[in-house]
Structure formats: C-alpha cells, structure tokens
Amino acid sequence: MDTELTEVRDFLAATPPFDLLPAGVLDGIPARLLVRYYRRGATILAPGDRSDALYVIRSGAVDLVDGQGALLDRRDVGAGFGMSTLLRGGDFKNYITAIEDTLVLYLPGDVFRELVAQEPEFEAFYRSRIRARMRAAVESVQATDRGVPILKTPVRELVRRPPLSAPPTTSIRAAAQLMSLGGVSSLLVMDEGRLVGIVTDRDLRNRVIAPGVDLALPVSTVMTSDPVTAPADALAFELFFDMAARNIHHVPVMRGAEVLGVLSSSDLARLQHDNPVLLVGEIRRQSTIDGLVASSQRIPELVTQLVSEDVTAHQIGRVVTTVGDAIERRQIEMVEAEMGRPPVPYCWVVLGSQARHEQGLSSDQDNAIILSDAYRPERPEHAEYFAELARRMVAGLAACGYPVCKGDVMATNAAWRVPLGVWRRTFSEWMTTPHADALVNASIFFDMRALHGDSGLFEALREDVLAQAPSSERMLAHLTKSAVEHQPPLGFFRGFVLEKAGEHAAKLDLKGGGVAALVELARVYALENGLPDVNTRGRLEATAAIGRLSERRAAELTDALEFVSYVRLRHQVRQHRAGVAPDNFVSPSELTDEERRHLKDVFQIIRRAQATLAARRPLHYVS
C-alpha cells in the first residue's frame, strides 16, 4: 500500500514554514489535511466565525478585509490564513473572501497545535514577534563575514595602554622628559584626576622650541586646553573622520570622567588601508574644485564596497555623509580663500538627509546660511559677498555630483540666506501659525546641522527652536499629519506592490513608503520633546531614553529603518553598476520572498507607530 500524496507533500515542502519541518514530520502531514474549494466571491471566513484550522492556499487568491471593509492584505498560493484565531483563540475578526476560484488545504487545529508544540521553527514562524523578526532580518542582510574592522571597532578596543599624565604645574622640560621616557607623542595634563589639557610632540615644536619659551614654565601654559575627547564606545571610523576633519592627531578616549588612553592618527595605520578615512584625508588635501570633483566621483564605488561588506545602512549613511561633509567643507574653505574673509560672521548649515547623516547615492544638496545680525542687506559688500559665496558653493557641489535641490532649499535662494534674527522670526512663524503648505516645505529645516563658520549662530537658533517646539501644538499636529500621510503599502501580491486601496503598483517606493515615514515620525518625537538629535536613529534612541517612546517600539522602528535603508542602498548600488541614475523605486522582482516578508513587517511597524502617534495627537483641528 502506498499512501504518499506526493503532490500535496511536494507543495508543502516548498511552502514556508512547512519547508522547515523534518522530512519525517512533513511526510505525515498530507494525510491529516482536508481539501476545500471556494468559488470567486465566496466568503470563506467572516467576523464571529469559530474557526479552528489553518488554511493554506493551494491555488487562487483571497482578500483579508477588516470589519469596516478596509483591505488588510491579499494572499495567494502558499500563504495561509486563520492562524490568528488558532494562536489567540476566540472568534475570527475579519473577512476572508476568495477573489479567484480558490483551492485550500485545511489543516485542523489539533494538527497545528501539535506542530507548534513539537517543532520550534514552525512555532517561531507563526508566533515570533514582529520585533524579533525585524531584528533577525537586519542581521540576515549583513550575513557576509568580510567585515571592515575600522567600521565596527569601538575606540576602546584600539587603546593599547593607559595614558601618561602629569599635573598642570609640571614644567615643560619635565613633561618632555616624561614623554621621552614613555616613548609617547602626547601627554595628558590632569588636575586632581580631571583632564584639563593635552600636549603633543607638535606642540613642543610649535609652541615651545620655535618661539623659544622658557622650559621651566608650567606645561599648562603651552597645552591645548579642554581637548576634544571620544567616548569609549564611539566607533573608530567616526573618531578618525572627526580627527581628519578637525585636523587633530591625538584624542583621549573617555569612560565617563576616566581617561582610558589616547588614540593617535598613526593608530589608524594599524587598521586596513582601503577605507573611507583615506578618502576624507585625500579630500582635505585637494586644492582645486577639479580635485574635489575627482574625489567625489569615488563615492559610488565606496558605497558599492560598503554595501557588499558587513556594514549597516546606518554606518554607510554616516560614512557617505562624512565624505560629503568633507567635500563641502573643503570647498567652502577654497571659496573663502578666493573671495577673502567674509564681511560678517556666518554659519553654513546643511539640511535634510545630510544634516541627519543619512545621505545615500541619490541625495540632493540642501543648504542655507545663517548670517550674523551684523549683516546689512543694503550694503552691497555684504549682500554680494554671500550671494557670490552661495552661488560658487552650489555650483561646486553640483559639479561634485550633488544635484541642485528641486525645492530650491539652497543658500542661493535669498530667503535662506538671512541673519539669525530673520531665521528666528521665520521659525517662530512656522511654529505659531503654521499653514499646511508652508510647513510641508519647512519640515526639512528642522533637520539642520552646522557645517562651517560660526556654529554659535546655529546653536542660538537651535536653542530657540527646541525651546519653542514642544509647546507648538498646531505645528506638531501638522507634522504628525504629514508623518502619517505617508501610507506604506500593505505588502506584495504576485510581483506587484499591493497598495492600501487594493491597487497593484509595479514598483515599491522605498522613500515615500518607508524611509520618509520613519524620518518624519522620528522628527515629531524629537521636536515634541525638544531633543537636539537630528539623525533618525539618534532621535528614536533619545526619545526612548527619556521614556517618551517604549524601548520596544524604538527598537522596532530602528530595525525597520535599517532594513528598508539597506534595501534602498543595495538597489542604488545595483543601479549605479548598471549605469542607471540611482532612485528609490525597487521592483518586487529584485527582492527575495524573505525580503518581501520583512518589508511587509516594516510596513506594519510604520503603520502601528503612525496609528499611535495619530491617536495621541488628535488631528481634528488641523485643516
């Protein structure tokens, strides 16, 4: 006798999660199933039904519709339904309707419960929390083990020995002797266990020997006070970028107030050679726009390399932005050198994805100038200087591959090249009497970072804005409305993207349907709590840290952002390789089944967070 139902068994063997079952278990399942058939249009389950079975679609397709008639999902061959009541108990809550003639395999509840009890992977497939799935998804996309050590190493792991230190009263000569004996190129100046300064080989040359300073003077007279430090868990690449950008060579690594050691730029040599830090160094040495253009052309290759290696989208965003920052900074130094000193202090600020450290391969330039209030628009030497500086910067950045902003959010726009006082007024208007239109365009200004010049101007503006934002109810309501208006799709159906109203789109908009919604949610969290963070992940973590967002939700959103950003970067790298201009529209055929499932989780995480936010901040008084 032969009872093997090969067709049914082979189908299950190719259908998650049955594909995870051991062959011996799988073989026994077909004989415990029923087969049922539903005509197109038939209601298979309705709210209130007492269903105790898992239905697996063998052919055809069904719609999952809630009690109010809203489409929740559309499922076809291999997908299941009915599991929610199996896992939770109680009545079925939604409608399942056959949208095509549909054949289903009906797995009785007792068989399901037996599998859940005995097969951990089967259980995990149905019972795993969305958060755990998202975490696993993020880990799975970085499955390669060709790691780039520099991008993953916390600085504390590079510290080789405890620091050498001396009190401020130590003479310069004694300090130099200590350094000589210790064989180090820097000495920390500590006052009662507190770091107050640092002296380096170069300081001894430039500040002592060359000017002929008395070696008996205390070392505090030639030290660099309050030196730049790094927290122990900072990532090495971030620190080295920072050092390259500031042109400093020694940085104390701190755990709280305790100094663990000092990292020097030569420690970099111990890390691998082929890394973005070298590109930043090269950019700093460029002296012509053409040179910067040449450096900038290496960015797509850099991203390609990073995507192929074990690096997170978050880190790639930081790297790409840091390289972009270096280009922009070098450029503005060159422009200033050509044009002479600015007539009044100013701060060059970047906005949007660059401010958030989230640049990718298709990022526009978004920038502005905060002028000192000493600026006089009626004085031509003021007005013309900054107009010309902005013109040269925007043109130079465009030459370096940063397209001009379609919304004209650039320093060349006179509206975004104004004194601090005007900026304050503008923000104040946005926050007190927001018109929907004005605010949609303005939201980018809430993601702002000082790049060059007098950062005090930026700090002053930011302080003002952050003080006012949490109580700007109408503005927050508008930003919330905008954040929840980015409707992620429901999922995928037969090679299409299934949109909320049931339409099928050919491509998934990773920006509009994913990244942008997350960015806007995080922006609302940050502004309503007056948090200074601009990086989306930073905003989520900071909001969770003050208890205004659950750790669970913050982790979900962070992982969702990482996953969808990674898919976006990988898509853009593929386009770059194919010689196509990078964009945000990915075809479902580019994705594996598993990635489509993970993206569906991303959409759900976004929808849940949007629903919570919308419920908390009523939108009824927003027109």
Binding site: D2, E4, A31, R36
Partner: protein
C-alpha cells in the same frame, strides 16, 4: 421499495448480493448505496482512478488503484490510498503513460488485496471518477473473475458534469480534449499535477468535483439525483 430503488443502482445491488458468497464484495453489497435524495452537502463519495495497460478490460490489466474519499465539500486526505497491483504481464509501452514500471508491478500487491481495500472504502459511498465508465468496466471484469458476479455501484462522473457545464454555460459542443481531467481542472484554476498516477488522478478528480459542485451552485446541484441526471 420504490420503483427507483428496485430498478436503480440500489435495486441492482439487492439482486446481486444474494448471489455472492461472504467476502469483500458481499460485504460491500450488503450496505445500501446513498439514496438519490442525499443532499450534496452531506454526500459521501470515493474518487477512484485506475492505471491500466490499455482500455480493453477483456485483454488489458489493472496496474494500480488510487482512491480518496470526499465528504460533502471536503476531500479527506486521511482516506487516500494507492496500490500497485502485481500482475503477470509486461507493462511494455504503457509505462510511458502511467509511470508504473515492470519492477513496481512485480513488487505490487495481489489484485484481491487491492480490490478488498477499494470495496471496503467504497462501502456506502458513491463512486466518483472522470469517465467512470472505464473504471466500471474494469471492475465488472475483475469482480466476475474474483467473485463470480458483476459489479454494481452508484457513480458520479466528473467528465459528464464537465460536459453539462461546458454545453450549458459556454456553448453546445465541447471541443476536443477540453473535457479531459487536466483541461477541465485548468478552467477552474486548479493546480497542475503530474498526471497519471492513480492517486494523483483520483485527487485531481475529487478537487474537480468540488469545483464543479460549487460552479453549479445549490440550485442545480442540491442532491445526488442532480449529479446523476444525464
């Protein structure tokens, strides 16, 4: 006993059973066939398929038997069985159709064993087959040989149901081949199977039956009588 019962399949069953000794066929014939008035919703059937060396029961041999029960609107896979029958024949070229090789046939069960299992599963049920005439003819020959009397059953034929659906709903004369099992299934979007394995074909027939009954709707397929009407 009503007229239909006397002269319908069940009357034939009554007449035959007195002439057969105790055994699988007698046990099968002792249980009445489902009444013509049985609602489709609770009707019990057994989808049956044979693989044979050819189409002539007097010359050709039964190679394998597959069957699966249908209860109302569900195929009950727990009852699915397939037997390869040991036969003293060369399978020959027909192996290319049904895939039953000489080796499999040599390792098969005796025809009596397969028949006993089939008759037991069919007891009290309606036989469901695609082109049921073929299965019935083979069964008659086999029963005469094994038990000395012909075979009787109540049958529903998915090919005939398909012909009714095609002629009434689409046009008068079905085109060549469109009534075949796999062509009929395709019309309902049912999955493609590797055809010609007795159990696979029986399952294919059972699923087609579910689709046909759904297509007729309760108005045109309320009882067994509606399914057996020519």
């Amino acid at each position: 006993m009503s007229f239909l019962r006397r002269f319908g399949p069940d009357g034939r069953r009554e007449r035959l059973r007195s002439g057969v000794a105790a055994g699988p066929l007698r046990a099968y014939l002792d249980v009445p066939f489902p009444a013509a008035s049985t609602p489709v919703e609770s009707l019990e059937l057994l989808a049956v398929d044979f693989e044979t060396t050819g189409l002539d029961p007097s010359r050709d041999h039964l190679l394998s038997v597959g069957f699966v029960p249908v209860v109302g609107r569900s195929v009950v896979l727990a009852g699915a069985r397939q037997f390869v029958v040991r036969a003293d024949v060369e399978v020959g070229q027909s192996a290319t159709v049904h895939g039953v090789t000489d080796d499999a046939v040599a390792a098969g069960v005796d025809l009596e064993v397969a028949m006993a299992a089939l008759l037991e599963a069919l007891t009290g049920r309606v036989m469901l087959a695609h082109f049921a005439r073929l299965e019935r003819r083979f069964l008659s020959v086999v029963c005469r040989r094994l038990y000395g009397i012909p075979f009787a059953c109540s049958a529903v034929d998915t090919l005939e149901l398909q012909a009714r659906l095609v002629t009434s709903a689409w046009r008068q004369d079905p085109a060549d081949g469109e009534l075949r099992l796999w062509a009929a299934r395709e019309k309902f979007g049912l999955p493609r199977y590797r055809a010609h394995e007795a159990l696979t074909d029986a399952l294919g027939c059972a699923e087609l039956y579910l689709a046909q009954v759904a297509e007729f709707g309760p108005g045109r397929a309320a009882t067994l009588r509606d399914l057996q009407r020519r």
